[in-house]
Structure formats: C-alpha cells, structure tokens
Symmetry: C2
Subunit: 184 residues, 2 copies
C-alpha cells in the first residue's frame, strides 16, 4: 500500500509518501514541504497548493491519501488557512478518485509513538526509527506527513465506510451536470 500523507497548511504543507503493509518494514518513498508566501493573496496560494499536490499524486500514484483532521484550537486566521488547505487536498483526492481518510493528531501520535500526547520531537524521532532514515525530515510538518502515512498503514487502512461511500459516489460524480443547482 502506498500512502500520501498530507499535514495541511497554507504557509507550510507537509507532504510525504510511505509504502508498506502491516507487519512488514515501511519505506519512505518521498518527503517534502509545499511552501506558499503569506505575501500572496489566499486564492493564489490555494491554486499553488492545488498544483503542487497534484504533481505529487501524478508522480507517486498513491492508493490512499491520509490528511490530518483540522481542529480549531489555534487562532482563527491559521485555522481558516488550514481548513482551506485540507479542503484542497480532499478535493484532489475525490477528483483523482483516490480513497481519502482523515486522522486526528492524537491518532497519529498514538499510532507512531504509542502515546496520543507525544510531542513533535518524539514523533519526529519515531518516524526516523520506523523509516530507518539517516536524519529527521525538516521542517516538522514533513515528518508529520510521514507520521500520518505510517498511522494510516498501521491502522489497517481503516474507515472503510468512507471508501464505500466514495466508491458509490463515483458514478454520480462522473455523470454530474447541473443537478442540485436551481436557476431562475
């Protein structure tokens, strides 16, 4: 199973690909961070993010996209950007007909370190060990993206409900025209 992990963000969006299965060594395929400038208008940054994530999907053809579920414990401005970045990632998954699953930060921490309350350094260190890397990926956002992918593989691909619903929707999306829009 090849999983594209995305730690959504407008300023820094962590992204990484991990391949493997439960009970076998996992392998990092690629890791990076998509940067957009806070000097640019939001719409330009979202478009850049869309194009960059699409490049990763096209290049690595993941079986699944795992995205960190956004919470609003941070400040409003950050949350809006993060929610929109996550929305772009979700949109791309649907458009490319790739299964997508969201994991909460504590699910990811628990899967990778054994504790839902682990800090960033602990997560980075475990990602390093699990993937047998020489050095921890930086910034932390990219390590988080790998942790998300690892979490998804180790949880056994979970959330079959979403996958089933998405599969059922494929036909409808393909034939989607103007349904649901009422014009006067």
């Amino acid at each position: 199973m090849k999983v594209l992990g995305i730690d959504p963000g407008l300023t820094r969006c962590g992204i990484g690909v991990v391949q493997g299965s439960i009970g076998a060594p996992l392998q990092m395929v690629s890791v990076g961070v998509i940067l957009t400038s806070s000097q640019d208008p939001t719409e330009v940054r979202l478009l850049q993010l869309e194009r960059e994530i699409q490049l990763w999907i096209t290049e690595f053809k993941p079986d699944v996209i795992a995205i960190e579920r956004v919470f609003s414990q941070h400040n409003l401005r950050t949350v809006m950007g993060t929610a929109q970045a996550a929305g772009i990632a979700l949109l791309l998954a649907a458009r490319n007909q790739i299964k997508v699953v969201m994991h909460t930060p504590s699910e990811v921490k628990a899967a990778v370190t054994g504790s839902g309350r682990a800090n960033k350094a602990q997560v980075s260190k475990m990602v390093l060990n699990i993937l047998k890397l020489d050095e921890a990926p930086k910034p932390a956002d990219s390590a988080d993206a790998l942790a998300l992918a690892i979490c998804h593989i180790w949880r056994g691909g979970g959330n079959s409900k979403v996958a089933a619903a998405l599969a059922a929707e494929k036909t409808r999306i393909a034939s989607l025209k103007k349904t649901g829009t009422a014009k006067k």
Copy 2:
C-alpha cells in the same frame, strides 16, 4: 460590470450574478443555490461544489467574484465546511484568472440596507427592491449571494490591492512547476 456573488456553504451555497454599475439600475442575471448532501463524504461534496461553481463561471463569465468572508462565530463543524467551500470558490477564481474579493457580512448588510446589523429578512427585502424582482429568492443563501454582488458593485469594486497582487502573480502561476517543493 458582471459580478458572481457566492455565499459559501457545504450544505447550501448561495450563488447569483448581478450586472450593473454605480449610479445605474442593477439587473439580476441569474440566481440559485448549490446543494450537497450531508450524507456524502466531504471530499465528494467539495468536488460537486467545484464543478457546479465552475459551470456558473463558464456560463456567465463574471468580471469579478465576490465571496462572503467566513467568521467562526458558529459551531466548529459548520465553520470548517464554510471555510472549505470558500476555499474552493477562491481556488476557482484564481484558476479562471478572475478577480476575487471578500466582503464581511456587515459590509454586505450595510451596503444593501444601510445598516450593518440588518437581519436576513431585511436583506432579502432590499435585494428584492434593488433588483426589481417579483419575489424574494429563496433560500436566504441565494438572496445573500445577490446582496454580495450588489455590495461589490456599490462599493466601487474596491480592493484593488488584491487585484494588483493577483495580476502580478499570473505570470508566476502560469510558469509554476515544482518551485517551493523540496523532495528528498
């Protein structure tokens, strides 16, 4: 000037087109609401929204897209959906190289009714009068989309800063490849 107003939402996204200029009667070109089912996964709903909004852009070729600026005074779940819907609208504006401006709910209310604290019924009534409609567009989300478009025209198209930044970015977007992405 032809303005596409969007009142972003995942369950109900109000959308409407108004044509006109300051000091001349405004005319409604079209109005509607894009509905997506809460039974569907978020990614499917976002994809549907993207396709529907694109149909409106393709059909009406607006000069400007006006979007309601999202605030988080409501519950978290709603705000996430609204932020993501607004993100899709912003993305489409950038992709279609159409100027996009966000207006706050109170800016819209003030422009249309003269009071930033007007209620939904007052906004609907003024939209009805301004556009000389026989009946108020329903649901309220569609009237809000028209109010946004009216607000944009009456504010004189404001926010030239965003437009200038977007224009400056066009070249960069067109030539965008893998800049900003560091892979290992």
